[in-house]
Structure formats: structure tokens, C-alpha cells
Symmetry: D2
Subunit: 359 residues, 4 copies
């Protein structure tokens, strides 16, 4: 136990449900956190849970959620089970008066997600969706640059997330990969800029029964455009996002640890064509700014440890987490609209406001 960490009994108790792919990361980060007392790891496969919990003598293992919820010291539950079970597990925990952190996506459908948000609201509990990318130093820095006005008004966002990816048995490439881009977009954009419509096209060239290559276009209320390319069939891995602003433009290359973010003070200044004579027009229409490029130093903290800290802050203060249930709901609404567009040959589908979603 590190010097500054309070004794276990002074920290709120928490349980992790799910010991599969993501659960062990939650366990590790909760154990290292000064904010939480990890008391339980729950998984139907108790052998697996036991192996994951072995290094941590204070963590009990169970196959039953009831055991967890029977422990009055448990004030919160972190859920890392398959998406189709999120609704039931989270609802049970909320109804037992526990705060909930859910792995993304919030739920399998918008309707299920809405149930969770309503339940948490009613009971005054914290519901947080673990949009982990939002807690990386890179995304935090991008959000800061947009919110501080450093980039100016956002003109376009272009995101490419392609790789040779496992073809998932239950979801298409849109539901597998686009939640990352959509949750990031939701997080970095100013509150006043909202998606108003979405169009999606895609293909299933292997005949797998689900879309393996997809393109997503979002119309934003500001007139800006956001576009994403998600692809399971690319032999090269690309994870690049460009955020074009009126003052600066930013390129985030998540696969370049030495220079993840490049901010270009470089862009076009526009002369108003109507103010120009005919022969001036071509030359004067646009002038280029060629300023320096800055790659800001980014911290190296693990995103999940920041997320776990944010969950503690939300529980302690009773205020929403940065990526709360509503954020998870907004992502689900766009995914469902995108799926509709995909089924309708790329037709533009409106993304209506929803009282429940906020923002």
C-alpha cells in the first residue's frame, strides 16, 4: 500500500462483474487506486475469476451477483460483461442502490440504455459509461484545445480506424469500432454543437452477413461535418483523426507514440469574393498561413486509471461523470440512426434531440 493511500475501510467499496477481456484491467486499476476498496470479483466462471484475483488477497471471488449486493460495504459496481447483459446486470445493481460504471456500449440498444439512465436518475445514483478513449491524454488535450478556443470553430472531423480486425459474431464493424469515434466526438465537441443527421454506407464483400467496411457521415448543428471510416479488412492499421478548425488544425495519430498530436497553425484565410474585382478573384480568394507545427507533450497516465478516478469523483460529489449514462445514450442513438441509414442505402437519417439525453 502506497504512503498516501487511505485505509481500505475509509474508501468506498466496489465490485467488478466480469473477468473476461476487460475485467482484469478494471481489477488492476481499482487495486492501484487510492479512491476505491475493491472487495469482489464476480464471474460465472469462478476459476477464471480466481486466477485474475489471485495476486490480491483482499478480493473475494464469487459466481453470484447476489453475494456482491449482499455486502453492505459495496457502494458501486463496475460491469465488464458482454453488451447484451449490461441492461440486466446494471439494472439489478441500480435497484440495489449501487452506483454503476458500465463498459461501452452502455447497452445493446438505445431503449435498454434509456432504462438505465431513467433508473439511475430516479434513485439519484451515478451511472457512468466507460468511454475509455475520452480519458487518454490525447483526447483530453484535444478537448482542451477545442474548448479553450485554440482551434477556433470546428470545421470538419475526419476519423479513420481501420485494421485487419476480428469479424465479430454478433455486431457489424459499425457497432464494433464506431463507438470509439462517436464517444470521442461527443466528448471533444462544444455542448452547443450537436449531431443533427447521420448517413452511413458500407459493404460486406466477404459475404459474412454483416458489414465489414463502413463510412459514416455526421451533419453537425454548426454546419460542420464529421466522417468516419471503420474497416475490418485493411492490412494496414490506421488510427488517425483530423480536427479542422478555423484557427488551427490538428492531426491525432494514435499509432505514433512519439508524436500523437500535431497542431498546425496553418490554414486558409478567405477573402470575400464579392469584394474583389474579376481579375483579382483567382489570386486573392485565399491566402495561406504557414505557421509552426507544435506537438504538445502528453502525459503517460493509463486512461482507465483516470476513468476510475472520475467515477470516484462523481460518486463523492453526486455530480455526473464526464462520460455519464447520457453520453452513452447519445452514442447509441447515433449508432441506431447509422444502422437505419445503412439499411436505407445511405439515406440521411435525422438524429432527434431527446430530453433524456441532455446536451
Amino acid at each position: 500500500m502506497s504512503g498516501g493511500k487511505p485505509a481500505a475501510e475509509q474508501r468506498p467499496g466496489i465490485a467488478v462483474v466480469g473477468a473476461g477481456y476487460w475485467g482484469p484491467n478494471l481489477v488492476r486499476n481499482l487495486m492501484a487506486s487510492p479512491d476505491w476498496d475493491l472487495r469482489w470479483l464476480c464471474d460465472l466462471d469462478t476459476d477464471r475469476a480466481a486466477r485474475v484475483a489471485a495476486p490480491y488477497s483482499s478480493v473475494r471471488v464469487t459466481g453470484s451477483l447476489d453475494d456482491v449486493l449482499a455486502d453492505p460495504a459495496v457502494t458501486a459496481v463496475a460491469i465488464a460483461t458482454p453488451a447484451r447483459t449490461h441492461r440486466d446486470v446494471a439494472l439489478t445493481a441500480l435497484r440495489a442502490g449501487r452506483h454503476v460504471l458500465v463498459e461501452k456500449p452502455l447497452a445493446a440498444t438505445h431503449a435498454e440504455g434509456a432504462e438505465l439512465v431513467a433508473e439511475a436518475d430516479e434513485r439519484g445514483l451515478v451511472l457512468m459509461c466507460d468511454h475509455t478513449y475520452c480519458y487518454t491524454p490525447a483526447v483530453t488535450a484535444i478537448r482542451d484545445m477545442i474548448h479553450s478556443g485554440m482551434l477556433g470553430e470546428v470545421h470538419f472531423v475526419d476519423s479513420v480506424r481501420i485494421n485487419l480486425g476480428l469479424i465479430q459474431p454478433d455486431v457489424d464493424v459499425l457497432w464494433d469500432l464506431a463507438p470509439h469515434d462517436l464517444s470521442i466526438l461527443d466528448y471533444i465537441l462544444p455542448e452547443t454543437v450537436k449531431p443533427v443527421a447521420v448517413a452511413a454506407t458500407g459493404a460486406d464483400p466477404l459475404g459474412t452477413g454483416r458489414t465489414c467496411v463502413a463510412y459514416l457521415t455526421l451533419r453537425l448543428s454548426s454546419g460542420a461535418i464529421a466522417h468516419g471510416h471503420v474497416n475490418w479488412l485493411s492490412p494496414t492499421k490506421v488510427r488517425t483523426t483530423i480536427v479542422g478548425g478555423s484557427k488551427r488544425t490538428l492531426v491525432w495519430d494514435d499509432l505514433n507514440p512519439a508524436q500523437r498530436i500535431s497542431v498546425f497553425d496553418r490554414g486558409v484565410d478567405l477573402a470575400r469574393p464579392e469584394e474583389l474585382g474579376d481579375d483579382q478573384r483567382r489570386a486573392a480568394l485565399v491566402s495561406y498561413r504557414l505557421g509552426d507545427m507544435v506537438a504538445p507533450a502528453l502525459g503517460e497516465r493509463e486512461a482507465l486509471s483516470v476513468a476510475v478516478e472520475e467515477f470516484a469523483r462523481a460518486v463523492r460529489t453526486g455530480t455526473p461523470a464526464a462520460t455519464d449514462g447520457r453520453a452513452g445514450l447519445r452514442v447509441l442513438r447515433i449508432l441506431e440512426a447509422a444502422s437505419r441509414s445503412l439499411a436505407e442505402n445511405g439515406a440521411l437519417v435525422a438524429v432527434n434531440d431527446d430530453a433524456l439525453e441532455g446536451k
Copy 2:
């Protein structure tokens, strides 16, 4: 004069019209060609034409197309004037019985382009569109790999052509940059694979009055998808095309002269899910091939010198050039459909077959 080059009087005479941006390249390549006898450079700005022609004492300069066409030794005309003048200049030359090479795009509209194709057909003259990229070693190699079956069936084509670009006074980013991608696509795909519909979305975030960022999706008759991102507002320059095939997938990075083309023998082999038991499903659905990657050695020949040779071949043999007027027309038809889609919020617009276009 190099050893093997026939005497001027044994080579067909040609004239270049237009001494602006592209004309001097035509002049230089025609002078170096063993196939042509460049006799005239014609431009309204005769001073500029004179400067361009100065190193070549055998090239006469004129401001009048009539002078050119009055020379019976001129059998062909290469046109590098602004697009809006292509129809008039080319039609005049064709009607005077001359073969014509036109800089891309073939004409300002599909209708104008169709006039040229019909005129050339009627007179049995060669009409070639200078889709220069098609004559680069890279694109030639890609076409060969597709046509030889090395890539297998084409599943998807993804093209990104973005840069900090001059905002053009008369055309939007689609008409400025997408002709490159569309002419390449037209050239590399097998004849049996045809575009059937196109959707385009875009934005004009600077309020310039024309689209500066655009995304283009083509549905192909084979079920494959082709997508292009063209953008004048990107501070980083990207010119990358991925061609995903059933056997191999290829990445063409035109900005990496040391490794323009990478061919990945890497991809997914699909098991039929219906043949599998429930618990086999997830694991067995897909298996990965991880083969070598090969970057083929490409020649270094200038594309335009190959184009000029191809024009000579077409004239000599009376057979269509690889990028003939019909190819130029097919590109125009897609551009017009894309513009319509752009105006209709990205609705899918059919690209009908056209008897005139062939293919």
C-alpha cells in the same frame, strides 16, 4: 537527336494548344519523343508561348489555331487549355480532321464531352483523354495485379487525396480532385465491374460558396464499394489508396517514393457460419493469413512520356487509347451524378449505362 529517333519528316506532326501550367510538360515530352514531330505551340499569349518554345528551334509559335490547322503536316493536336474551352478547341480540331489529345477533364460537362466522342467516332479519329495518373508505373502495376488475378476479386477501394489546396474559383473540390481517383478507378477495374450508383456528401465550412471537403461512395456492379475523400483543408498531405482483394490487398502511398506500392498477402479466410456448431462459431468464423508483404520495384518513367507514346500508338493503329474519350466521358458521368447527390444531401444517384460510353 538520339540515335534511334527517326527524322522529323518521317514522324507525324503535332501541335500543342495552351502554354500555361500543363502545356510546357507536353512540349518537353513531345520533343523528347521518337514518335512525334512537334511543329507548333499555340497560345493567345504568344510571349508566353515563345518563352516555352525557345529551347526548341523547330517549334513555331502562334496565337491562332487557324495557323496550326492550315499546316497539312499537323496530324494531331494536344490540348492543354482551360476545361471550359475544351469542347470548342477539340471540336475545331476534329472537324479539321485531326486526332486529339485533351487534358483532363475531357470537357466541362458530360454533354460537351459526348459531342467530342460522337464527332471523333463519326470521322474515325482518335480522341484521347490525358488521364495522366493512369500512365504512372504505380497505376499500371495496380491494373496489372488486378487484371492478372493476383489480387483476386476487388472487395473495396478506399482513396484519400487531401492537402492544403488552392480553393478554385470555378470548381469545387470534387471536380478538382476526384477526377484523378475516378479515372484511376475506371482504368484499374476489370471491364465487367461497373459503377452503378454514387453518393456524395461534403461541406463548405469556410463559406466559400463551394464544397471544400467531400466524400464520395461508389456502388460497383460486383457488390464492391469504392470510397474517396477529397479535401482542400487538410494541413497534412495524404495520397493513399487501398485496394482490398479476395486474395491480396494493396496499399498505394503516392507520397512514399521509396515504397509506393505494398502488396499484402494477408487477409481473412472465412468459414461459413452455417456449417459450424454454436460454440465453434466465434473462434472459427475467420482465420487470418499472415503472409509476406511485397513492394514491387517500379520503373521511373515519366507518366506523360508514356501517355504521348500511347497516343502515337492509337493514331498509328487506329485503335482506341487506353484512356480514350469514352473513359473521359465515364468520369464526367460519375462527377455529374456525384454533384447531384451532393445537392440532394447524399442521396444515392444511379449511374446509368450509356451506349456512347462503352464499358
Copy 3:
């Protein structure tokens, strides 16, 4: 326990000494190995050892090497303690009749390393040095390409290993980083090609009291040259090795997981100048081959798991490991010669053959 893994009592017993930086990796790989029965983790800091061993109930923890050596089921010891202790720990284990695997460098000095080799020889025990890089798929592939003749004769090897590195309290940059390059070189070169002399230059521009930037040149018996640049002060990280051969040249970029090895069938063919007339000379002296480049698919296996398997093979068969004590000794001899050269302003220092070292 995986299906094919023999029961613990059928596998030779092993102990790990040292639970610091490298020890936990040894523990993890030995536990996952079907070849070994890991029985002990020994470290003076028994708390640390206990934490490392916690997930593995079968591993006992002790602070005393005596406990380990008193266990007759222990047939081998893997040592991951600081270099200055290697001699004592390894000698104790060898004298107790145990096979020994030592983390690199084999020992703090060539003399100490020689003691270990002699002791192991005398007792017929396996002494292996964990030159981990030699067990990576990349280095294995390079060795295969050289030994199969695919590269032809090796002309030059150029290695750059630079980074913003921790300035070590006890060793200079040469002893910290060059062992990697030297052990790789020792492993990949044919047995007939031996280092004959070494020169080293360096600088300590920060006044730390130890060399932070160093350059190393090795003269090989074949006339080839090998050069290394090791540097703790570079803000960019580079780990690139070029192996120039008479048939092909290879570039290994260890920081590019997507393309670690590129093999260029590209090079110079030399005409004999004495066979040429004067005016032919300049043009004909050299002709370039511009062939394809191939990036071979490499497996993804963790190097240490291969090393642990190789140690088992050596123990089982009684034959030397690929990186045996003699390999460790050869690296130490070059390091000591390089240090001497560094102290003598870069003078060339002979690297004599040594009966003990073999090769």
C-alpha cells in the same frame, strides 16, 4: 494447465533468482512453459517475491539461495539479479550441480564470465546467457537469411540504438546498450566471420562522469565492417539495423511492428574497371539492380518463451544453447576492448581469439 502440458513431476524443476525488473517475466514464461516446473522464486526482498509469485500457487518464495539448492527437484536456476552478482550466484548454482541461465551480460567482467564458462565445462552443465533479442522472430529471420545465403556475403552492418535513456549509475552507454547489438551480431554472422579489432569513440557532454554517446566500429575477419551508434541523449527513439549483403540488403526497424524487416533485392553490380576502356569507365563501373522489396511475415511469439524453450532443449540434450556462456563471453571481450579503445581516443584494439570462447 493446457492440454498437452506434462504433469509437474515429469518436468525438470527450475528456480528463478531475482524478482526485480526481469524476474517477473521469467516467472511468467516459465509458468506458461510445457518444459519446466517452476518451483521457487528467490529474492532478498521476499515481499516483492511474494507479490510476483502470488498468482501461481505452486511457486514457493524464499530469501535464501540455500533453500533453493536444497530442493533436489531443482535442476536449473535462472538468474535475473544485478550484473555484479552474476558471478557469485551462478558459481554457487553450478557448484551445486545446477544448469544456469543468466540474464545479459553474462558477468560484470570477462574474467568473471570466464570463471563461469570454465566451471560449467568442468561439470558438464549447461550455461546459457539470456541474449533475449536473439530469440525474437526478427533476429531469427535475419540469421536464417544470412546462413541460407539469401543475403550473400555480409558487407556491412550498421546499427543505431538511440533514445532518451536513463543515465545509469554504474555503467556507461556502451555497456548498457551495445550488448544488445553485439549479441545480435554474434548470433547472426556465420561462424567463419569473426571480429578482429574494435574502435570506439564517445562523449560525455553533460559531464556525468560516464560516456552517454558512443560509436563503435568492428573490423570483421571477412573485411566487412560493423558499426553501432548508442546514445542516451536522443529525443527521438531509433532502433534500426542495416545488414548490407552482396546479394540483398536488409533493413530491420524494430520500432515498426507493421514492417520490422525489409529485404531489398536492390544493389550494385560492379564491373571490373581494368576491363573497361577509359570512356566506358564512368558509365559502366556500376549497374544497379532495382528488384522488389519483401517484408517477410514474422511470427508473434514472445522472445523469452523461445529462450526458455531453448534452455530446456540444451539441458535435455546436453548440447550448448544457441546463446551459450561462450557467446556471453565473446560479447564481454568486445565490450572490454571497446572500453579500452574509448580510453585511448578511439585507437583500434585487437580482439584476440580465445580458446575458451570458441567460434
Copy 4:
């Protein structure tokens, strides 16, 4: 003729000698310059000279240097002939009272170069060496950063200039490529930092009779080290220089036009070990600064046009050019010392000060 360019008779007259590889670039830049009136192009191969001069009606062609020097309007001569002829051509021009610009290297030997410097001194004429790289925006920016103190004290310079290069009939790789790095080093370092000794090693693995791979180490008077790797046998092209400073470190990648210079505010701060207790030592010895990286915007001006302007400035003001004859001489002195070291197995060879060389 551009608006601001003075009439030919108001500009000093100049002649270019040599119409081979570099001459045409001189012709083009002198014609575009507002500072010079290019009057002659002189080459023994008058046909070649005529072709080069054709676009410029005002330039006379001759095969005889006498014609040039007989023209009283010619005040300066720019020499782009082979290095072995530099001494004779330049000496003739200087003795005829003309200012001289010589392509690098200044002469074939230090002794010949010294003759030129002495002759120019005696006659009060400008002798400039065309170290073109020094006039690139990148090198100018690096010099500014060093001279302004932005980088702090220079700790090390590491330069790699490797490629598949033409094996030269008369010079080795050191004399072919290292002049670039040496002239750059001479230009960017503060006047107080001088080379004091040089060591060079190399190899001729193809048996061409000349060194094809070479490594060069320079000891500087400040205690810093400069190292260069020049290589004709590398299948990949690298042109990268790292300048490590006490405040910032800079990486110049000349093959990355989008980001040629990266300045890292990242480095090590050193605690004095003698001030630390034993247990503090390891941890506290060094702390890292992880600041931003800045890639400064660089202009796009052609280096040779800046060199031609600098030559005019030197002639007009009677002050030495930034890369004057003395700079050319300093480069020759190091090259000769390096050749001596190469012949002596890499022994450190002193580079003595020389009154003639200045600096």
C-alpha cells in the same frame, strides 16, 4: 522581366563556366535574379551550352574562357566544372580581376584551395564556395537556433547521409558526400567551436578500389562530438542530422518535406552525484524534461537563389560571403585529415588551426 528588376546594364555582369550537371541550375537562378546580368555560358561542349542557354536570348555561348574574360562587363565568374579543374579556371578568372563563385569542393586539394584564397585576398576579390545546403531554409534555421542560444550549448551532432549511390570513378564516398555535412557543420556551429581532431573508418566491401561506407568522428574544441555516416550501398535513403543541445535537441530530416525540422524541448537535467546520498543516487541522478516539440515553418525558397543573392551582396559590399573561400578551405582540411585517418586505421588525426583559414 519582373517589375522590380533593374535594367541589365545596371546589374553587374556574370558568366557561368560549365554547362554540365550543376551549370544549368546556376544559369536558371542567375537569369531569375534581380542582382545579376548573366552574359555568357562557357563550356568546351558548345552544343550542350547552346541547348542550356536557348531560352535566354541575352546569354552568349562560347567554348573559350578567353572570350568571357575579354568582356569588360563581366565582373564575376561562376564555376561549375569538375573539381580537378577548379584551381586553373578560378585562378585565371581571379588573375583577370573577376570575383569567383566555385561549386563545392573549393578545389581538389587543400593546397590548391589555399592558392585560390591567397590570390583572392591579394587582389581584394570575392571568392565564394557554393556550399548550397547552407542556403537552404532548414540549415539557416538551424544556424539561427544555435546562434541565438535557443538550443543551448551543442553537445553532439550526428549525421547520416546514406543511399544507393553512384560509385564515383575518382573520389571515395567521404569526398563525395561528407563535404555536405562538413560545410553544414562549419556553417551552423558558433565561431568559437572548432574541430580539433578527426577519425575516420570505412570499408570497400565490393572491392571497387575506393571506400564506399565511411564513418567520421570529429572532436570539437568545446568537448562536443560530431559524427557522420556516409554510405553508397544503402538501399534506403536517409538524410538525418541530430543536433543535441543543452537546452533543446533538434532533428533535421531532409527527406520529410512536411516536417524537416523538429525541435524537442525534451532532455535530461543532471543532478550532481556528489551532492547526493547513496540511496538518492540512482533515482535523482537525472530528471527528464518532457516539453513540447515544435516544427518551425520554413520558407520554400530555392537554396541556389539565396546563394546567388549572397554572392551579389559580398561583391557589392566587399565583405566575405557566408561560405567564403576560407570555409571551403576548412572543409578541405578536414577531408584531408579524414583521408589520413582512414589510411591509418582510424587513428585520431589533429586538425590544426591555419592562419589562412580564419575561424
